[in-house]
Symmetry: none
Subunit: 241 residues, 2 copies
């Protein structure tokens, strides 16, 4: 399996006009897989079409999901476009670096973009293994949604002609996000049973930290299964002799 | 004399709104030298300000010229953003290549952008020594003026070291091998106690597999400690038989 064009995931987008502009920016650089997580005004949105300036095919194929986790379930690699999040240690890459990685990744990567004003929540960023930050003028950061989408699509398109499967060829493909989520859920359940999470007000941060640690490894499906065996063994143990 | 930020030259721009958006795109990536050649609706234009979203300083400093030749009179290097012109033999470069050259050029370079619909005239392109073409999807070319300005400004800014905390910068260093070995030993002890390793003749292979999985992640010392806490909690916390 080789690299596929990335999915663009708009999380809680507000204005249909911005969805349309994002679709246009995508198609300009050859991307067509648009996914919407709980768009504020529902979907389809009559304002999207005119703003897409002809990129109707992207809007027609757009799929709607109830959560970020569902939207990226089939994607082995997930990137969150945001600035660094407090309390979350995730590698930060430039659009250029992300584009290079996406071409080297197996399967489809996903790139998350937050709502126009509020951006992505910390736990949404935690689902992604990496943060992509567009390096803008620190004294004037006013990149809008469609512009951010365009820059990522543009960087991706640059490597399209050159896309050469090298590295990954012999390596095992990275496990899809759903496999990782299964493992993480199992671990959280086991840790819950073992009274690991306390004090309660620290639990969300602790979960995010663990999530980051576990997604950092780019484990294959086989490796995820091995880790699930480890967790099960530790949690259940065996009757002592 | 070293390289200066390039001037953005809008030739016969029609809508004030597009001038404002171009100014915003410029300032996002640190450019401030905007030059207008015979803007259709005169200058200043009341529609420009609102579209600039706060990039007022660029609009205030904008200068108006009667011709392209006058607008670029002080610029040793001039680039025309357009597709190749018939009957004109001028080198064509990508935005990336143009950005690299602009940084290598002495003095200020200028980048010309044509009117929204009509683009640049052949004799205006001839003033430029080079053509810059943004490689868009051949089946869907709908890049607007501000987007084209943004891509060029973005490419230029990449070589500027604007404010880019990317990878290594603050990323935590990888834990020393001894920390990893401590964690692995702890896990193996816990798995031994849970009767995980069987059949015995498979144990060395299983240990190697787990070792590979756990060293793959490049965990930091902090992350190794978190994982040790997880192992301890799972090993000790399970309900006793």
């Amino acid at each position: 399996m080789s690299s596929l064009p990335p999915a663009i995931v708009l999380v809680r987008p507000q204005l249909g006009e911005n969805i349309g502009k994002a679709a246009r920016a995508m198609l300009n650089f050859g991307l067509t897989d648009l996914r919407l997580v709980t768009p504020r005004d529902g979907w389809p949105n009559p304002s999207a079409g005119p703003a897409a300036s002809g990129a109707d095919i992207v809007l027609e194929r757009a799929r709607v999901f109830d959560s970020v986790a569902q939207a990226v379930a089939d994607c082995p690699s997930v990137y969150a476009t945001t600035v660094r999040k407090r309390g979350l240690v995730v590698p930060v890459v430039s659009p250029e670096e992300a584009a290079q990685e996406i071409h080297a990744n197996h399967g489809a990567s996903a790139i998350l973009f937050g709502a126009e004003r509020s951006g992505l929540e910390t736990d949404e960023v935690a689902i992604a293994g990496k943060i992509v930050t567009v390096p803008v003028n620190p004294d004037f950061r006013s990149l809008n949604l469609a512009q951010a989408v365009m820059l990522l699509a543009y960087e991706w398109s640059k490597h399209e002609a050159l896309a050469v499967p090298t590295l990954g060829d012999e390596a095992e493909p990275r496990a899809p996000q759903a496999h990782l989520e299964g493992m993480i859920a199992q671990l959280f359940d086991a840790l819950e049973a073992a009274d690991y999470f306390h004090p309660p007000d620290r639990t969300p941060a602790t979960r995010n930290t663990l999530r980051t640690i576990l997604t950092k490894a780019s484990w294959s499906t086989r490796e995820v299964q091995a880790m699930r065996g480890v967790i099960r063994a530790l949690a259940e143990g065996r009757p002592k002799g």
